[in-house]
């Protein structure tokens, strides 16, 4: 699984069936504000975080922020 934009159309929202699109998702972690392009449902807002992103860049960023 990848978070590449071209693969996002292969996914549909489990909640409402709308095809996912890549959008900039804003989130806050340990007082820091971040934006990451992610496949998301433009209808209900559900966001998919691909496994390689969660265990890759996001985990790396988390290690930095938590001083691990």
């Amino acid at each position: 699984m990848s978070n590449q934009p071209e693969e996002s159309s292969a996914w549909s929202c489990a909640s409402c069936g709308t095809p996912l699109e890549i959008v900039k998702v804003a989130f806050t972690y340990m007082k820091g504000n971040f934006e990451v392009p992610l496949p998301a449902c433009t209808s209900c807002g559900l966001v998919m975080i691909p496994e390689d992103l969660a265990t890759g860049k996001m985990a790396e960023a988390e290690r930095i922020l938590e001083d691990k």
């Binding site: 007082k31 820091g32 990451v36 860049k57 790396e60 960023a61 988390e62 930095i64 922020l65």
Partner: protein, 226 residues
């Protein structure tokens, strides 16, 4: 780290450092510069701080940088910005001609930081202020040396705070104020990682044999020329 890259600027904006101009504003609280005080930003990049100091604090600020490309970027943003090409070890200003110097996230990158501090001292008037913000080594054992284990240039020159303080004192400065802003460094490092601009090496760990770990931090300080 290529400081001229568009990918980096997309994450940092024109102020290519942790904290941006908010940290510059924090330092100014401890300086009390009068209107039109003459300031120089050494390693100004595209002049984000120079623009901020002139527009928001009515200070007579100029900038010097060794990147003609970044200076050009600044001039294309605001044509009237007084930005000149030069290096920190030989600044094109007369003795005791300035009220303040900023050197933000630059000192640790210089090949000869002591030489630069001596040059800063030369061009500052007595009582003038030096504003420094930079990376440093937070956990220092006996080995308070440079982070030469890093493969990334932006942390190469990071030293423990006592080393910087000693350098400043030997160059003719007294530190008036120092505070830690490591969360800003970590936030920027995380944003760079998420944007695929840099690896965790940017804010990584420094293994020192028998000496545990050294981790990079970020500080802000204000010093006075004696």
């Amino acid at each position: 780290m290529n400081y001229e890259s568009a990918e980096l600027h997309a994450v940092t904006g024109p102020a290519i450092r942790p904290g941006g101009v908010e940290l510059t504003a924090r330092a100014l609280e401890f300086c009390s510069f009068p209107d039109s005080a003459r300031l120089l930003d050494v390693g100004c990049g595209s002049g984000a701080s120079v623009e901020y100091l002139r527009d928001h604090h009515h200070l007579n600020a100029a900038g010097v940088d060794m990147s003609s490309r970044l200076l050009r970027d600044g001039k294309s943003r605001v044509a009237s910005l007084p930005l000149v090409l030069g290096n920190a070890e030989r600044l094109p200003f007369g003795d005791e001609s300035l009220d303040g110097i900023l050197c933000e996230c630059v000192l640790s990158l210089l090949p000869d930081a002591e030489c630069a501090l001596t040059e800063f001292c030369r061009i500052l008037r007595p009582g003038g202020r030096l504003i420094l913000s930079d990376v440093y080594m937070r956990e220092s054992g006996e080995n308070q040396c440079h982070g030469e284990n890093s493969t990334d240039g932006c942390l190469k020159g990071a030293v423990a705070y006592p080393v910087t303080k000693k350098m400043l004192e030997e160059s003719g400065f007294t530190v008036l104020f120092w505070e830690d802003h490591t969360p800003l460094l970590k936030e920027l490092a995380a944003r760079l990682v998420l944007a695929d601009v840099a690896s965790a090496v940017f804010c990584g760990e420094y293994k020192k044999a028998g000496d545990g770990y050294q981790r990079p931090g970020y500080y802000l300080l204000v010093a006075r020329k004696d």
